[in-house]
Amino acid sequence: MRLTDEQKAFRADLRGYLQENVEPVVDELDRNGPMDRDTLMGFITDLRELGVGFDPDIAPDFFGDVWKFMLTAEEISYVWPSLNVGLMMSFPSVFVRFAAEETREAMLPKLETGECLGSLAVTEPSGGSDTARPRTTARKDGDEFVIDGQKTWVGNAHYADVCLVVAHDESTGAQDMFLVDRENASFETEELDKLGWKGVSNAKITFDSVRVPADNRLSNIFSNAIMEGYDMNEIVPFPESVTQLFFEQKPLNATFSFMRTGMSFMAVGIMQAAMDEALAYATERETFEKPIAQHQLVQEKLYDMKSGLETSRQLSRRAAELLESGDPDARLMSSLAKGYTSETSKQVADDALQVFGAEGLKPENRLERYYRDARVMTIPDGTTEIQKLIVGSELTDMSAYH
């Protein structure tokens, strides 16, 4: 993998922005729990200036360039993983563009200025990892669907403008997704507290007879857009190779492959941050009259961290390459990468904290946050166990999870 000059310039600008605007405030913001909407939107609108976002002007270049997307996940997570999650989980807002008229009227102006915040509601309190059989239902009633059920841990949901909800479509007996916009429909949310990723808001949602126009069903969104003559990769602004995977590997699976590869780069960002701090500390801190870096057991820790970081980075890049070329193994490799890098980030953050000794435990040093943020990585977007089952199923063509 070799970045183009444009991609390098993009990364340099992004790094500059993050160092100048996020780095100085990250500790305090993260300590105060989930960002409020204005804070998150402030960063999102700034990032839009750099070419990061999901509105029709920006998305084709951002989403459409696998490397730009992945670089963004890594660089933002190096500074603040929670911000990366808040940003990335907003992607379902792309579907506003082809949604029902009332949703377009309410949300398109916001989307066009980058201010339409999205969320994706898959997980349910009762089902957890078993997402193939949603208990949330969508009942057809005239020109509308009526949604009932609960979702949980949904990023941004507490104050998102639109929420893409996975539900059982009673009219067809199949699983589908429904775009709920909050100007025309309302639902209750309850914010959840958690160990890491403190800065991003996750919430439980209750849908109590929430009505959405039939044209906000995702399959209608696609159908209507295609009938109007749009190409698949105008509707989901993924690169053509990924849209091709949409075709070959089911739409939701291709989306997961993309998101999981992003998560994998996120883990790399956290590891790089932990490693950089630990390395700097190891050469400064002295015990037994020499820098701790001169103790062999500390060097071993550095070796372990570096090997974890580099294998993770290579695996993430491999997953991104397969996505970029639309390779059938993209699903396998993105699950392998997400599973492996998440677990490895836990280990690397743990080693980095150990290098800091007691200082690593203090909230004013970042090791403690890296440790907590890394710990979360193995759960969202499919736990490590689920990634193992996906890899197993891809390798053997025999599923152990249905």
């Binding site: 067809t172 699983q175 009938m227 075709f247």
Partner: protein, 190 residues
């Protein structure tokens, strides 16, 4: 001209229940063979009715038990599609590249194909498969028939994973509107 007796027999068969219709169909379809195009042109409502009655049946078991009739059924189906495409301006506009597609049922031995031809502006199909098609569609027989008769929306059905599609995404997105318009037309004709 399709003879009146045949038209009358077809109409009478609609009065019967599914089981009786299933018994009658092989003979009926055998008589239609060779005059499907005329039938479709002259009696479009009747053809729509046959196809719709058939799509309510258990297609997979019917095909397994009556493989030859299944081919005749497909001939009728594709005659319907061809004639509809000829007369529909919207479809004519949507045909802007060549597309070849194979259909294969995964629950019974039913195969079919369709060819969209840009220079002729035609949509033609039949039983059996083509060598090296652009797109291969697999799924349960009733879904495949539903795609043609209009009870399954091609894009929604794909998104909801009722069937699988292999081939370049761009060809698929060109095919879908054609199928959609044809099936909307078939529904109107009833």
């Amino acid at each position: 001209m399709v003879d009146d007796e045949l038209v009358q027999r077809i109409e009478e068969s609609f009065e019967t229940d599914d089981e009786a219709l299933e018994e009658e169909l092989p003979g009926l379809l055998a008589d239609i063979e060779g005059q499907s195009d005329e039938l479709v042109r002259e009696q479009p409502e009747i053809v729509s009715k046959i196809l719709n009655r058939m799509s309510e049946m258990d297609i997979a078991s019917f095909v397994s038990e009556n493989p030859e009739t299944a081919d005749q059924f497909q001939d009728l189906l594709w005659s319907g599609v061809r004639v509809l495409a000829e007369g529909n301006e919207e479809v004519q506009q949507q045909i802007n590249e060549d597309i070849t597609v194979n259909f294969e049922a995964d629950n019974c031995p039913m195969t079919g194909h369709v060819e969209v031809d840009k220079s002729e502006s035609t949509v033609t199909g039949g039983a059996g498969v083509l060598d090296d098609p652009d797109i291969a569609i697999t799924g349960p027989a009733d879904v495949l028939v539903g795609l043609i008769t209009g009870t399954v929306d091609p894009i929604q059905g794909f998104m909801q994973q009722q069937y699988q599609m292999d081939g370049p995404v761009q060809k698929g997105t060109r095919l879908a509107p054609i199928m959609n318009t044809l099936s909307e037309q078939a529904q109107v004709d009833q």
